[in-house]
Symmetry: C2
Amino acid sequence: MAKTQRRQTKSQKLVLDFFNENDQAISHEMLEKALGDKMNRVTIYRILNRFEEDGIVHKIVSRDGVAHFARCESDCNHDHHRDNHIHFRCTQCDTISCMEQTVALSLPSSYTVENTNFLVSGVCPKCNK
Amino acid sequence: MAKTQRRQTKSQKLVLDFFNENDQAISHEMLEKALGDKMNRVTIYRILNRFEEDGIVHKIVSRDGVAHFARCESDCNHDHHRDNHIHFRCTQCDTISCMEQTVALSLPSSYTVENTNFLVSGVCPKCNK
DNA sequence: GTAACTGCAAAATATTTGCATCCTT
DNA sequence: AAGGATGCAAATATTTTGCAGTTAC
């Protein structure tokens, strides 16, 4: 919980670049395929966890339990991830991406909402042609 | 994909009873804790997968990637799980339950929606007192 | 120089599979 | 008795941890 001092390393930069280049949610597996020759498998795990802790990426768990990560809005941090937008997973090209659409929640007032997680599966425009 | 003939066994009945008694989403871990002395760990995995295939339960993946299962509406089957309702996970008592609320989706028409998965975290009424 | 980061090996978890045996139909 | 279901062991993932060596600051 106590956030330690961070340092800028080559590995972290490579991962961050990958996030910036790919406009979709990234899994550990994808990163390992792309950067596995440049850094250790374990390092990727650690970087991803660190990034999430620091609010640089937010986690999206796909239907089969695999963690994906996508760049966060600027107002995310460890305690609160603002990811009340919809995530869309295309079953054809198997990509997960963040949508702008948010969801209007209407739960009874006896519920306190802390975090939301919306995942929609289907076919994306690109594959829908 | 080809659904085989099913048989009624003691183990399956125990699991099904557990679902009926507990009005919340059940993980493999919970089942093992409750029924682990009556059947094998692997059997529980297989029963859960079979139940999901047959549309008896639907899967809910929690934020930490753990699969939970809850009894389905009657019109679920392997191809289509009607679980466009909201799942609520209480961060205090750590239970996941199905809510009646559904979500009004408004995605661009270029998207085809096949499945939805809504997980909201927070504090449930019981723990909110 | 200090402490964060990485790599490697190993440990800890989680899930699946092969196969012999048992049980439902 | 045919074949689905189970138990057990072992194979596969998947993720985490310990620790020594490296590197950013």
